[in-house]
Amino acid sequence: MPFRGKRSRKTTTINLLLGFIEPSSGSAFINQLNVHENIKATKRFLAYIPENLMLYPNLTAIENLDYFSGIAGKKLSKSQLVDFLEESGLQSDAFEKRISSFSKGMRQKVGIAIALAKDAKVLLLDEPTSGLDPKASNEFGLLLQKLRTKGVATLMATHDLFRAKEVATHIGIMNGGQLKQELVAADITLQELEKAYLNTMEYKELVL
C-alpha cells in the first residue's frame, strides 16, 4: 500500500501510526487498538524504518540488532541474531563490523532484521528506496515481497512509482493530507499509474 505525493503529509501519517503525534481529529488504529490510547501496546506490533535509518555507529550490526530487540523485550541468542541478519540479506562479513562504515542499503537491511526479530505484524517504511542504487532497490523490493508472504502488512511511503507497482498490492495517492485515489496494483499498468499520479498533482495545482 504505497503512498506518495509531495507535501502529501505521508510522514505525518506514519507519525500518527507510531503515536509520535496526536491526531487533531479522528484516530489511528493498529490491530483494532487505538494508537493514541495504547502507545506501548501498538508499538509491539509494528516495526518502523525511517527514511534515513540511523543506528549506533559505534556498535556492530549484531550489537545494534541485539540492543534494539533487547530494549523491545526480545532476548535473542547469538545464532538467532545471525539468522535474522542473514534473512535480511546483509552480507555475512559485515555482521561484526561497526555501523559507521555501512551504506544506507546496509543499514536498512539491519533495520529489516530488527523488524524480523521483533516479529512485527506491521511494517512502516518512509521512503526506503530513495538513495539506493537500482540493485539495492531491487533486493529491497524482493525482501518486502518475502515479508508479504510471511503475513506482514507493509505501509510504504514513496515517490518510486516503479517500485510501488512492483511491490504493492494496493496503491493510494495522497496530497495535502488527503487520500485522493485508491488503486489495486494488479489492475493497472505503470503508465496508467503515472498518469493517475500526475493528474492528482495537477488537480491540486488547479485548486491552488
Binding site: 510522514t11 501496546a41 525511517p50 559505534n58 533487547g70 530494549i71 523491545a72 533495520g111
Partner: protein, 476 residues
C-alpha cells in the same frame, strides 16, 4: 530494557573513550588537588612547629637568665625584660596557642586562608585585639585554592554536564531516536536508565580514583573510616543532584546546544551566583561593627580609666584582700594599676564585643537558613566541617584562645600583686594551651540532598508532558 542498556551503554562509553577520558581527568584533578591540600597542611604544621621551636629556644634563654639572676650574677638584659618579673614572663614569653590540623584537613582549605592557626596571647594584651586574621594575597582569596573541595564542588558538575547534557538530544540529532521511539518503551524511562548508568559509572570512577589517590599520596582512607565514607557519600549525593538536573534539562529543553547553555546557566546560578549573593546579602543586612571604631572606643576608655587608675587599683585590692595579706612590701607599680584597670576596660567594652558576636551569629544564621537554595553551599560547608576548617571550627579555636588568654593572665596575677618573683621552679607550672578538637562534621545533609535529587527525578517523570515528546519526535 535495563540489562541491555547496561551492557551497551558500557560498550558505547568505552568505545567513545568517555570512561578512559573521565578516569584520567578525575585522576589528575584529584591527585593535584589532594597534593595541593597536603602542601597547605604541611605548611600549617611547619608554621606551628616553628612557633613552638621559637618558644622553646626563648624558654631556654629565659631559664638561663633566671638561673643567673638567682645565683646573684650580673645579667646583660634590659631591666624590664628580666624574667624574675612575672609580667616580663607573661609578655615576652607567651605560649603558642595553636590549632593543629585534623586528619582530613587537606580536603578543604575552608576558612583556613583567612585565619591564622596560632596566636601568642600576652598578659597585657586585650582579648579582642588578638588578631586572628591571616595575611593573605587578595588574588589567592579571589580565586580560592585548588583543593579537593574545589574539584568536587566546581569541576565535578562541569564534568557531569559535559558527560550527559545531550543524552536524548544526541539521539535526535543523529536520527536514532525515531527508531528507538518506535520500540515499545517509555522515552523518560529510557533517558532515566541511560543517565542512571552514567551516574553509576561516574560514581564508580570517582570512588575508585579517590581511593587510589589517597593511597598514592600516602593517606590511609580507612584510618578515618567514618569521614572517608561520609566524604564519598556526600560527593555521590552531590553528583546525583547534578544528574537529576541534567535529566530534567534533557527532557524539557531541546537541542544539544540549548541543553548545554541551560546546564551551564544552572551551574553558574548554583555554584557561583547563589553562594556569593547570600554572602553579600548577609554582609549588607548584618554588617560587622567596624574594628576601627571598636579600637577607638577602647582607647578612649583606656584614657578615661588611666585618670582613675589609683581608685581602680584600690577597689581591686578591696575585692582581693588575699593580695594585701601575703605581701609585706605593698609596692604598687605600673602593672598593678594596669592589670586592675584592664579588667574594668574589658567589662565596659563587653557590649561592643557582644554586638560583634551578635552580628556574626546573625550572619551565620542568615546563611544557614538560605543555604538550601544551593547544594554547593551545603556541600562546601560539610566538606569544611569534615576538614575541620569551617567557620565553627575557627570560632571554637578563637573562644579557646580567649579562654586560654584569661588563664594565662590569671596565672600571673598572684605573682604580680604578691610582688613575688618568678623563679625557675615556677616554670613547670606555666599554663599550656591544648587545642580541643571538636568535630562539627554532620552527615545529616546527605539524606536530605539525596531526597531533593530523587524529588527532581520524580518531577521530571511526572511533568515531562507528551507535547514535548511530540516536539522531539515529530521533526524529521
Amino acid at each position: 530494557m535495563l540489562s541491555y542498556n547496561f551492557k551497551y551503554e558500557l560498550k558505547l562509553l568505552l568505545r567513545s573513550r568517555w570512561i578512559q577520558l573521565l578516569s584520567i581527568v578525575l585522576l589528575l584533578l584529584f591527585s593535584f588537588s589532594t597534593y595541593n591540600g597536603l602542601q597547605k597542611v604541611e605548611k600549617r604544621k611547619k608554621d606551628i612547629a616553628d612557633a613552638h621551636l621559637e618558644v622553646k629556644e626563648n624558654d631556654e634563654m629565659m631559664l638561663k637568665l633566671l638561673d643567673s639572676v638567682e645565683r646573684g650574677m650580673q645579667v646583660s638584659a634590659s631591666r624590664w625584660t628580666i624574667p624574675t618579673q612575672p609580667m616580663a614572663v607573661g609578655n615576652y614569653h607567651p605560649r603558642v596557642a595553636a590549632m593543629d590540623p585534623q586528619p582530613m584537613t587537606f580536603i578543604a582549605t575552608g576558612q583556613g586562608d583567612l585565619f591564622t592557626h596560632y596566636v601568642k596571647p600576652k598578659v597585657s594584651g586585650d582579648d579582642f585585639t588578638l588578631n586572628f586574621a591571616e595575611m593573605t594575597s587578595p588574588v589567592q582569596l579571589l580565586f580560592g585554592s585548588f583543593d579537593l573541595a574545589f574539584v568536587i564542588i566546581y569541576l565535578l558538575p562541569l564534568l557531569i554536564i559535559a558527560f550527559s547534557y545531550n543524552v536524548l538530544s544526541a539521539e535526535r540529532e543523529s536520527g536514532s531516536l525515531r527508531l528507538l521511539a518506535s520500540q515499545p518503551i517509555g522515552i523518560q524511562t529510557w533517558v532515566l536508565q541511560k543517565l542512571g548508568l552514567r551516574f553509576f559509572w561516574l560514581s564508580i570512577l570517582v570512588i575508585f580514583t579517590l581511593t587510589l589517590v589517597f593511597f598514592i599520596v600516602g593517606i590511609n582512607p580507612f584510618s578515618q573510616v567514618t569521614l572517608f565514607f561520609g566524604l564519598l557519600a556526600l560527593v555521590i549525593t552531590y553528583m546525583l543532584f547534578w544528574f537529576a538536573l541534567t535529566f530534567l534539562v534533557n527532557l524539557w529543553v531541546g537541542s544539544s546546544s540549548k541543553n548545554a547553555v541551560v546546564l551551564l546557566g544552572l551551574w553558574v546560578v548554583f555554584v557561583l551566583l547563589v553562594p556569593s549573593m547570600l554572602n553579600q546579602l548577609g554582609n549588607t543586612l548584618y554588617p560587622m561593627p567596624s574594628r576601627t571604631i571598636m579600637i577607638n572606643e577602647m582607647r578612649t576608655l583606656k584614657a578615661e580609666v588611666a585618670e582613675r587608675q589609683d581608685e581602680i587599683l584600690d577597689n581591686y585590692l578591696r575585692d582581693h584582700p588575699e593580695y594585701a595579706i601575703n605581701d609585706s612590701t605593698q609596692f604598687r607599680g605600673f602593672y598593678h594599676r594596669y592589670m586592675a584597670s584592664q579588667k574594668l576596660v574589658k567589662e565596659e567594652l563587653s557590649p561592643l564585643i557582644n554586638a560583634y558576636e551578635d552580628q556574626l551569629k546573625k550572619q551565620q544564621s542568615w546563611v544557614a537558613s538560605f543555604k538550601w537554595v544551593s547544594p554547593s553551599i551545603i556541600v562546601q560547608e560539610s566538606l569544611n566541617q569534615m576538614a575541620g576548617t569551617s567557620t565553627q571550627d575557627y570560632e571554637s579555636f578563637r573562644k579557646q584562645v580567649i579562654a586560654f588568654a584569661g588563664i594565662w593572665r590569671e596565672h600571673f596575677l598572684p605573682f604580680l600583686y604578691n610582688n613575688q618573683d618568678f623563679s625557675q621552679n615556677d616554670y613547670a607550672d606555666l599554663p599550656k594551651f591544648q587545642y580541643e578538637q571538636k568535630s562539627f562534621a554532620t552527615f545529616g545533609v546527605i539524606p536530605i540532598l539525596f531526597l531533593i535529587s530523587i524529588g527532581l527525578f520524580a518531577v521530571g517523570f511526572l511533568f515531562s508532558n507528551q507535547t514535548k515528546k511530540e516536539g522531539i519526535l515529530a521533526s524529521n
